[in-house]
């Protein structure tokens, strides 16, 4: 067999529309493309001219599956531009909101989008016939994540309560308290999920990735931290543009991100975990050890276990925040606009998400740049495909195709998000 192609025209069990294409010639992979054909939606363009207080509601619409991540990066970037820092209970509530999103998003991915690959089902619904307990547990756990987002944010998709400076309304302690009982069950369910994923048959495959994630002085990162990598990167978010660059590639509607002077890099659970294992709570660390994960995991197929460990952490952290909660004196602090540029990176479930805004003295957005995690992982996904296929040329076509799809799902790519960025080179209002 001298030449063949692997082609999937419409990837399933991912967010958004994408395809994959691998060409093999003389037993060599000559081309591997992860292609995004999701239509561009021009968010950075129409953010210009909007008031800075509108950014959290507008950017939420970039993604229905991780709207909180967009809201968090947007509010932090705006506060950075205005020279304001949100601390105390409001900061804790933001972490709690992120816990909710991590739980619902990770569990959706683990159980409904990714696990069917390992067990040989087309979807979680058909998987439920043979694994009813696992699917039911996942649905209940996912619901707990959604409940956190709903109580704090008003609804699970596109929450309405997030605001520059804090929240529109802070929850009363008695609104949060019932979540604790649910979360105690959730923590056990998440631990069970770690055990369940660790028992899956995981392909032997690993890579020499450059991991990039936030790192905070004393917590597992959600909203804040330095941007670090295991190859020496250590910068504040505001220096992102000096170290990362996007290329506009013909075949895809999303720009490819690379490290300046380097190549592909990886963001997401594996990167966060490798760079922050010591910041996980004891129960999450213990779960990781029991699942056979070292402090660093380089097999992207095992990201399903790492997501489960992060779900344990999110349940644990949510319990801590709710247990310590004292309502703030005011639901938000005042953020008067001032002319300037603000930067923020936060950790979306799929990985680091960068926002940059320039606003004028009256708070009107003049320029916006948003770099979602999937756009950053795109090049790495293609590298994985190339190496995976090269090492498994002997597999029959259908098996190889399935493994390629699975390898893409390792990244839980959110293709809808990945299309939104534009390179804005000329100021125009």
């Amino acid at each position: 067999m001298s030449g063949r192609t692997i082609k999937v025209d419409y990837l399933s069990r991912v967010e958004g529309e994408g395809s994959l294409f691998v060409r093999i010639k003389d037993e060599q992979v000559v081309d591997a493309q992860f292609k995004i054909f999701e239509p561009p939606r021009f968010f950075e363009a129409f953010l210009r001219g909007r008031h800075f207080t509108e950014a959290p509601d507008i950017t939420a619409r970039i993604c229905g599956i991780c709207p909180v991540a967009y809201q968090m990066s947007a509010v932090h970037a705006m506060e950075d531009a205005c020279g304001v820092k949100v601390e105390g209970p409001l900061r804790e509530l933001r972490r709690l909101l992120y816990c909710g999103e991590w739980i619902e998003s990770h569990v959706l991915h683990i159980s409904m989008l990714h696990a069917p690959d390992f067990l040989g089902y087309p979807d979680a619904i058909r998987m439920a016939a043979d694994h009813p307990e696992a699917v039911q547990r996942a649905l209940t756990l996912k619901k707990i994540g959604n409940e956190i987002v709903t109580v704090l944010g008003g609804r699970e998709i596109h929450p309405i309560n997030v605001k520059v400076g804090g929240f529109h309304r802070a929850p009363r302690a008695r609104e949060l308290a019932p979540l604790s009982e649910r979360l105690k069950w959730g923590l056990d369910a998440a631990l069970e999920t770690v055990r369940w994923t660790a028992a899956l048959e995981i392909p032997d495959f690993s890579g020499d990735y450059e991991f990039v994630a936030l790192r905070h002085s004393d917590e597992y990162p959600f909203n804040e931290g330095k941007l670090v990598s295991d190859r020496g990167l250590d910068i504040p978010s505001r220096e992102y543009d000096h170290h990362f660059v996007e290329e506009h590639v013909e075949r895809t509607h999303a720009l490819h991100s690379i490290r300046m002077g380097g190549g592909a890099y990886m963001v997401g659970p594996l990167a966060r975990y490798a760079l922050n294992f010591d910041r996980l709570s004891p129960v999450a660390q213990e779960a990781a050890r029991a699942a056979g994960l070292g402090p660093i995991c380089r097999n992207p197929f095992r990201s399903i276990i790492v997501r489960a460990v992060e779900t344990v952490y999110a349940c644990d952290e949510a319990l801590r925040i709710i247990g310590d909660y004292e309502p703030p004196p005011s639901p938000a602090i005042a953020v008067p606009p001032r002319a300037g540029t603000g930067y923020a990176c936060t950790e979306a479930p799929r990985g680091m998400l960068y926002h940059r805004y320039r606003i004028d003295g009256s708070g009107i957005i003049r320029d916006a740049k948003i770099v979602p995690p999937t756009a950053q992982n795109q090049k790495q996904i293609e590298d994985d495909l190339r190496r995976l296929v090269q090492g498994r040329l002997e597999l029959p076509q259908d098996q190889l195709t399935r493994q390629c799809e699975q390898a893409i799902r390792n990244y839980d790519p959110c293709i809808s998000c990945a299309t939104h960025f534009l390179r804005l080179t000329i100021e125009r209002l």
């Binding site: 087309p122 619904i125 058909r126």
Partner: protein, 258 residues
């Protein structure tokens, strides 16, 4: 003889995926829904695909590319009943903010390689292109309404989605009117019910993510906003969010654009 299950298809056009995610967010009801219908085409949730025709198609997203403008006709031909879910499919969505600008010129300026991008100058709702049997509003849709729409279809009855304003839901919820009590700008009086009046319950005004109610009086609301200190540009922005291309919101925003 057992009844044949209805074949359900879920389609995506330009969108954030949030409305189809609403179906997966029905954690308590998902397995029941899956038991009642045959999920024949739902790429976000399953890699299994059953060929059409489909009894019920749920369509998310707006039409923004020549390819999608052709694809929606194929979807319509393959569907017995076609229901749009969400503001993108029903009103053009947030993407329709491009409709107020010159996208051709804009593309050339902002993209490093505009020739790689194929896009239409307008983002349009599905009903601009094909016959739509029912439109479910919201950015995002309300999952309980979605369940009702699916149940209504299965039982051949009309869905229960009242066309009155958010104000009625607010009263029913017992929320204090944020306009009257706090002078906050609120689009509730012109906005289609369905969300459950969440925003006023969280001490903020409605921002109209469910789009215009039946016969909204947008000019009257704009007058009120003006009298409470909003300028023209704030009013333009208020009506230009997630349902900017609906007739009443578009007209009102254009009336205040200088």
């Amino acid at each position: 003889m057992a009844m044949r299950k209805a074949k359900l298809a879920v389609w995506k056009f330009a969108s954030c995926d949030g409305c189809q995610l609403s179906l997966l967010d029905c954690e308590d009801e998902l397995l029941a829904v899956a038991g009642a219908v045959d999920m024949a085409h739902f790429p976000e949730a399953t890699s299994a695909q059953v060929k059409g025709p489909y009894d019920l198609s749920l369509v998310e997203g707006s039409i923004t590319t020549p390819h999608d403008a052709a694809r929606i006709h194929q979807v319509r031909r393959a569907s017995q009943t076609l229901i749009t879910i969400g503001a993108c499919a029903t009103a053009g969505g947030i993407q329709a903010l491009r409709n107020f600008r010159n996208v051709r010129e804009f593309l050339g300026i902002v993209y490093a390689h505009p020739e790689y991008i194929e896009t239409l100058s307008l983002s349009t709702p599905i009903s601009t292109h094909v016959l739509v049997d029912f439109e479910l509003r919201g950015c995002p849709i309300n999952k309980h309404q979605l369940l009702d729409v699916i149940a209504a279809f299965l039982h051949k009855r009309k869905p229960v989605t009242p066309a009155h304003s958010v104000c009625l839901e607010c009263k029913r919820r017992g929320s204090v009117c944020v306009m009257v009590a706090h002078g906050l700008p609120c689009l509730g009086p012109v906005t289609h019910a369905g969300c459950g009046a969440i925003c006023p319950a969280y001490q903020r005004g409605c921002y109209a993510c469910f789009g215009p109610m039946e016969s909204p009086n947008a000019p009257a609301l704009a007058d009120w906003l003006m009298s409470h200190g909003a300028g023209d540009s704030a009013i333009v922005r208020a009506f230009r969010t997630y349902n900017a291309y609906t007739e009443s919101f578009r007209k009102e925003s254009e009336a205040h654009e200088r």
